[in-house]
Amino acid sequence: GTTGAAAGNAAGGTIKVGGDLELSGGQAMFGQEAQNGIKMAFDQINAKGGVLGGKKLTLDVADNKSDPGEATIAATKLVGDNVVAVIGPMTSSLVAAATPVVTDSKVPLITPSGTNAKLTMAAGGKVQPYIFRPCFIDPFQGQVGAKFAFDTLHAKTAAVIIDQKSDYAKGLADTFIANFTAAGGKIVDQEKYASGDKDFTTILTRIKGTNPDLIWLPGYYNDDGLIVKQARDLGMKMPFAGGDGWDDPSLFKIGTPEALNDTYYVDHVANDSPDMVQFVKDYKEKYGHEPNAMSALSYDSANMIINAIQTANSGDPAKITAELDKLTGFKGVTGEITIDPKTHNPQKKAVIKENKNGKGIYLTSVSPS
Amino acid sequence: MLAIEDVHVYYGAIHALQGISFQVNQGEIVTLIGSNGAGKSTALKTISGLLRPKQGKIRFNGEDLKGLPAQKIVARGISQVPEGRRIFANMTVMENLDMGAYLRRDKPEIKKDLERVFAIFPRLRERKGQEAGTLSGGEQQMLAMGRALMSKPQLMLLDEPSMGLSPLLVKQIFDIIKEINAQGTTILLVEQNARMALSVATRAYVLETGKITLGGMARELAASEDVRKAYLGG
C-alpha cells in the first residue's frame, strides 16, 4: 500500500524524500556532500513556503555504509517509511543494489552521480522505469576524453590507470580505450590499483617504462592527486587526463598545483559558469567549504524531485515518476537537464578543464553527438 | 617486626581467611603449616599486598601496610618466593636474577649478592643464559629462591620452597634457609613438608580452613600428638 500511505503522508504537513546515502564507510565523503546539497535544496524551497500549498519537504536519510547489501537494506527501510522518492546512492554499484527494492515498491530513485551506463537499463534493453539521474554517463565521458586526448593533445600512445574497486573507473577506462584506439591511438599499458592505496610508485614505474604520450586516469580526486604527484616525483612529465572524479578543490592540496599542471579532465560544469556561481556562494556560506560535483548534482537531484512534485501537483510516487520521465529543459546548476524517456539519461553537455597553477580552468565544452 | 591482627580475606564469596592473627619477630624463622587449601598461600599473598584484606591490620616495623600497593611493600623489605615459582619464563636466568634486584641501586652490593646466589646454587651459574622457562622444576625453584635473595629482604616469605625438589636439594634448601636467617633475614615459611619446616623454625602456627588453631615454639608443636597425627604422618 505504498501509494495510499504516501497520499496520507502528503495530506500531513510534510513530504518525505529518502536519502540512501554513503554516510559511513569508504565513500562517506560522497554521502555527506550529497546530504548537504539535498538539504540545501529542501531548505530553500521550505523557506519559500514549501510545495503543494505549504507542505515542507524533509529528508529521511538511511546510511548505506558504502556497502551494496546495506544499500538494499537502506532502500527497504526508506520505502517502508513511505518516502515519495529516493535520492542516492551515489556510487554505481550501490545503485544497482537498491534498484530492485525501489522498483518493487514503485518509488522513483535519482542517483546524483551514478554514471555507469547500465544503471538505467534493465535486462533486454528496456529502461529501468524508476531509476533516473542528472548526470551524463560514462561512455560519453570516455568518448569526450579520448577525442580530446587524440585531437587536441595529439597523443598517439596512452597508458590507462584503473581503480579496480570502482565500476565508474572501469566504465570510463573501457570507453576511453575503445574510442582512442578507434581514432588510431595505441594503448601501451594498463595498470590497476585499489582506491585507498597510498603508494602508486610501483605501477607508475611500470608505465614509465612504456613511455606513453598521455595517461588516462579516470579515478577520484584523492587518488588522482597522489598519483600525479608521485608520477612527477618519478620524473614522469607526460599529461594526465580523466573524468569528473577529478573535480574537487582539494585536488590541488593533495597533489601540488605544480605537479598538476598539464592535466585535464571532463566535467559536468565549470564552477565559474553563471549557473553555478550562486550555488557555490550559498553552499560556502552554509557549510563553510566549496561544493564539489557531488554536492551540485545532489542539489539538482533534489530540485528535480521538487519540480516533479510541483508539476504533478501531487506527492504520489507514481505521478512523480511520470513527471521525471518526461522532464525537459530543467535548469539545474550543473546544466540543462532533459531526460530521455528511452534511457532515463539526461542530454547534457560536458566541459573540459585544464588544471593550471592550482585552478581548474574551463577549456572547451562538448555536446553529445 | 610483622604483626597480623584479625585479618579476613575473601575470594568472591569464599571466606578464605577468617580472622587470623600472628606475629613474626626480628631474626626468627616462623612457619605456617596446614593441609591443602587451609589458606597458607592466601596469608602470604595478603602480606605481600597481592590480596587485600577485607578487615584486619598488617603491621610491618610498626607501619600499617594497609592500602600499600604490592610494589611499595617490596620496597619496605618484604619479598616473596611464590608458590609455583612464578619465574619469568621468557627471560634468561640472569635476567630473572636482575629482576630480583629491581629496586636496588647499590651496584657493588648487588654483585656480591649475585655471587652469593651462585655459590648457593651453582646450577644457576651453569645456566645463566638459558631461558628460565626451559629449566627443570627444581632448577626453577632454585631460581625463584635466588631471585628473592637478590632483593636483600628484611623479611622473606617462602611458599612451599621444597615442592618438587630432590631429597638432597630439600635438605640443602632448608640449610640455605637457616643460613639466610643466620645472616639476618627474618623468614616466614609455609610448608607441606611440616617435619622439615618444624625442624628449622623457631616458632610455628597451625592453620586450618582459614583459622589459626595452634601456635607455639616449633619444638613443642613437633612433639604435640595432634600435630604429629595430622601433619607429620605418624
Binding site: 546510511d63 538494499t72 537494506i73 527501510k77 517502508g80 554505481s92 554499484s93 572501469k170 | -
Partner: protein
C-alpha cells in the same frame, strides 16, 4: 523415546509457533519490508555466529576470517542459481560444500598455528577470497554479481533451525567434547587420545560449511553481492556477535546475533552517530561483562524436562 521428551517437544512447539506466526504475518502483509529484511538478516547472522562459535568458542581456534567463507558460499550459490540455473536448494548446498572444502584445505596446514598467528592467517584467507572475487570477471568483479531474490522467510527460517540443531547436536556429543578438550588444553587432550588436528579441522570445516549456508541465503536474498560486502569488517562483526553473546555458548551466539542486528537496524536512524554508539556499546559491554551476555553457559530449558536429563554441557 529420548528424542521426544518434554523439553524437546516444547522447543519444537515454540519453533513452529515462531515460524507460523511470522509466516502468517508476512502473508497478511503485516510486516513492513524493513522488518522482513532484518528478520532475514537475523537468520543469516545467527547461522554465521553459531558456526563461528563452533570454531572459536567450542574448539578454541581463533578465527577472524569468517566472512571469507560466507563469501564463498554466496558466490558459489549465486553461480549455481544464476549461471547454471540450478534450484535454490542445490545452489545453497553447493556453496556450503565448496566453502567446507576450502575450510578443510585451509585448515589442514594452518590450524597448527596458535592464537594470534592463526588469527592473522584466517584473516588473510578472508582477504584472499575477497581479492579472488574482485579479480574474477565471471562473477562481476568489483561491480558485483546480480542475483534474483529467491530466498524467502521459509527458506531462511528452516535453514537456520537446521543449522542450529546440527551444530547443537555435534557440540553435545563425544565429538563436541573432543573439540572442547582441545580448547581447554591441547596437550592434555592429545594425551587423552584425542587427535587434535582432526577435531580442529572438523570444527573448522563444519563451521565453514554453515558459513557457506549463510552466504548462500544472503546472496539469494540481497539482489547483489560484491566482494567488499565480505570484508574483514564483516568478519569482525560476526566475531563481535559471538563474543558479545558469550564465547562458547551457542544460545549466546544467537542472542548476540539478534542483538547486534537489531541494534544496527535501529541505529541506522542516526547515521553519524551509529558507529560511535556501536563502538561505545562494545567497550562498555566488554568492561561490564567480559565473558559476554551468557558467559559460556547455555540458556537452558531444563526446567521443562525431568531432573538430570538436561545437564548443561
Amino acid at each position: 523415546m529420548k528424542v521426544l521428551n518434554r523439553k524437546n517437544l516444547a522447543i519444537l512447539l515454540a519453533v513452529l509457533v515462531a515460524y507460523g506466526g511470522i509466516q502468517a504475518a508476512i502473508a497478511a502483509r503485516l510486516v513492513p519490508p524493513f522488518y522482513s529484511v532484518n528478520l532475514m538478516l537475523i537468520c543469516v547472522y545467527v547461522i554465521l555466529a553459531t558456526s563461528l562459535n563452533l570454531i572459536n568458542g567450542v574448539t578454541g581456534q581463533f578465527s577472524i576470517g569468517h566472512a571469507g567463507f560466507m563469501a564463498i558460499g554466496a558466490y558459489l550459490s549465486a553461480i549455481v542459481s544464476v549461471k547454471l540455473h540450478g534450484p535454490l536448494g542445490a545452489a545453497i548446498l553447493a556453496g556450503a560444500i565448496v566453502s567446507a572444502g576450502v575450510g578443510f584445505l585451509v585448515g589442514l596446514p594452518t590450524l597448527r598455528l596458535k592464537g594470534d598467528y592463526l588469527a592473522i592467517t584466517t584473516l588473510g584467507v578472508g582477504q584472499i577470497v575477497q581479492v579472488v572475487f574482485f579479480n574474477t570477471n565471471y562473477v562481476g568483479g568489483a561491480a558485483g554479481f546480480t542475483v534474483p531474490r529467491t530466498v524467502n522467510w521459509t527458506w531462511a527460517f528452516w535453514l537456520t533451525v537446521i543449522s542450529i540443531v546440527i551444530i547443537h547436536n555435534f557440540t553435545n556429543s563425544t565429538h563436541g567434547r573432543a573439540c572442547i578438550s582441545v580448547r581447554e588444553n591441547e596437550i592434555a587432550a592429545e594425551a587423552m587420545g584425542i587427535n587434535s588436528t582432526k577435531y580442529k579441522v572438523m570444527a573448522f570445516s563444519l563451521g565453514s560449511f554453515f558459513g557457506g549456508i549463510a552466504g548462500g541465503l544472503y546472496a539469494n536474498y540481497m539482489y547483489l553481492i560484491q566482494p567488499t560486502t565480505f570484508s574483514f569488517l564483516t568478519s569482525f562483526n560476526i566475531l563481535v556477535m559471538v563474543v558479545l553473546g558469550g564465547l562458547g555458548s551457542m544460545t549466546g551466539s544467537i542472542v548476540g546475533a539478534v542483538v547486534m542486528t537489531v541494534l544496527s537496524a535501529y541505529l541506522s536512524n542516526f547515521p553519524e552517530w551509529r558507529m560511535v554508539v556501536t563502538a561505545l556499546l562494545l567497550i562498555v559491554m566488554m568492561l561490564f561483562r567480559p565473558s559476554g551476555l551468557l558467559g559460556t553457559k547455555e540458556f537452558n530449558l531444563g526446567f521443562l524436562g525431568k531432573k538430570g536429563e538436561s545437564r548443561a554441557a
